[in-house]
Symmetry: C2
Subunit: 346 residues, 2 copies
């Protein structure tokens, strides 16, 4: 029997929290170990969804495990996040979630009421997103071998007819659209843990972005060149991945990036950049410049899209980088998230 | 926004290991909590795969989390099990696995060589089973919040053209085929933990059963009324579920059930019944009586199917039960697995 023995480039001796944070360390693990061994098509876990062919039908598939801590937080909970995260991963790949399957790894001793609350949260999120839950699986591990519960969701979706997104479609002059304020989810989780001497009235932005993306697609589908939901690693990590994948430069206009005061304040205290903070209900889209006005008008007339705006643009140079310019004319380069300042954010 | 508030029947105050063991307690959890809240189509996690319609194409989807302990055992490992388990769940639903997506929940501090070994095991198992790995996701939790690694695989498959399995197709007079010896996987795992003062030369039966099922389907596809891979809970649990779902009686002929000496010996010492022990490379099929001779001939001429045999039959009465008869004329009823004598078997 033939055995494949590809070489791997990942040389770190053990797995650290940062390898699950969605930033640079995650990318090293995926590109250095998973991709060469597992993903013959080059599609790795850092992408949003894979598009595959089955019986002549093209469909999208995506999978994510959720280990967020705490399970419940202002604005959402792990069950709701697990459904919306998968709906959103499909949506930004240009697909509408049709069916989701779910698995639970439960810790023995978990109160049933906690499980029931999350199962109800999933059912409600699925109903709101218009997706059916087709099946699942449950495993139980000894008390102390999991942190209450871990949830994995896998979604399959139908491709939206006039949307085709890829880093290869991104061109200099394209505009970068952001659906709303950034950092709400990550900062909410951080505060919900109560480990910091900080309080703020803030809620996770967790929601399905599918209605926004469907509105956008109906209006200017052919002009959408790329999309991504900037979860772990935030907007900066998503756009750095895009810059590298399309080999173009990305410039962001700092004063255009919507950040709530509570998020900005917490970030300043903690030495974090809002551009690195996870979001669970926002998306980035790269659009052809000529369709920007229509896109913004459509989104602003869709519930939840009122704060959409253009935050930057694509340039030929410097290729592979993301720069943030300020209204005073200064500029700084911003890289992917390094390390893991915000563990178990989703 | 409408909120569904279905009633649930599951009244146990907390989750116990038995709820993940695949037996009676699992069924109570699924039927009492997951099914009423999540599965609008009535398909629950105890089944093998759901069949859904997408863009006019019917396809099968299945998902499973793997928490087997230890990660490596004679004959296999968690990575290999995670691929074959999903391939097999699709196969017994009458589908050929086409793509698998995978997630990892890793414990911080996990040596990279352990992860690499399992990723290679997955790649090899996928190659052998002829399925591509289309994507994935990785999360990392703090040291002590997982047991090395948990793996979740989701597979989508193309339906085999002439196979349609359902408890509703099962008729009195049908014969029950078993692909080979039972209990190897469960007893191997139990011994591999080294907690018992027992030794035996035995290996897990973990493998893809797809080639066997494809051979069977080509020869007598229309005669296959039902299939199942008897993993957690073993043959007894799978057949009890069938007996209840089809409302027929099932009779097994004890002397026809293949059990290796090492498995029988370990079961006697531990007070377990081999019919309750998990398998990872066997399948049960209910066949129309007239196709049995051809089915056995075909399987015995397919690599890995040499030990296939008929172990019982379906009768009108007593409905909903499984009885085991001995060559001396005695009979005993055998129920689903109760409790969890074998935790974290897959």
């Amino acid at each position: 029997m033939a055995t494949t023995v590809p070489k791997i480039k990942f040389r770190e001796p053990q797995i650290e929290m940062a390898h699950g944070a969605g930033g640079l360390a995650s990318r090293r693990l995926v590109e250095g170990l998973f991709a060469p061994l597992l993903f013959s098509n080059g599609h790795g876990p850092l992408g949003d969804a894979a598009h595959i062919q089955l019986n002549g039908t093209r469909l999208a598939i995506t999978t994510d495990s959720f280990v967020v801590k705490p399970l419940r937080f202002p604005g959402g909970s792990i069950g709701e996040l697990a459904i919306n995260g998968t709906v959103n991963d499909l949506a930004v790949s240009g697909a509408r979630a049709e069916a989701i399957v779910v698995t639970f790894v439960l810790e023995a001793g978990l109160p049933t009421e906690i499980l029931e609350a999350e199962v109800r949260a999933m059912a409600n999120a699925a109903q709101v997103a218009g997706v059916s839950i087709a099946g699942g699986d449950t495993k139980v591990v000894e008390h102390g071998k999991a942190d209450q519960m871990y949830v994995t969701t896998t979604g399959i979706g139908r491709l939206l007819s006039n949307v085709s997104v890829s880093p290869e479609h991104v061109k200099p002059g394209d505009k970068i659209l952001l659906s709303g304020p950034i950092g709400d989810h990550g900062i909410t989780i951080l505060l919900a843990r109560g480990e910091l001497d900080l309080e703020a009235t803030i809620e996770s932005d967790t929601r399905s972005v599918l209605p926004l993306i469907e509105s956008l697609a109906r209006a200017v589908g052919d002009s959408i060149h790329w999309m991504r939901d900037p979860t772990r690693g935030g907007v900066a990590t998503s756009l750095n991945e895009l810059a590298r994948d399309c080999n173009k430069g990305i410039v962001l206009f700092e004063e255009k990036i919507p950040v709530r005061d509570a998020v900005r304040g917490a970030c300043e205290l903690l030495g974090l950049d809002p551009l690195h903070i996870a979001n669970e209900g926002q998306f980035l889209a790269v659009l052809a410049a000529e369709s920007v006005d229509v896109a913004l008008e459509v989104l602003r007339n869709t519930v939840g899209g009122e704060q959409a705006r253009i935050i930057g643009e694509v340039r030929e140079q410097p290729a592979g980088t993301v720069a943030v310019t300020t209204c005073y004319g200064g500029a700084r380069m911003i890289d992917m998230l390094v390390g893991d300042p915000l563990p178990r954010i989703c």
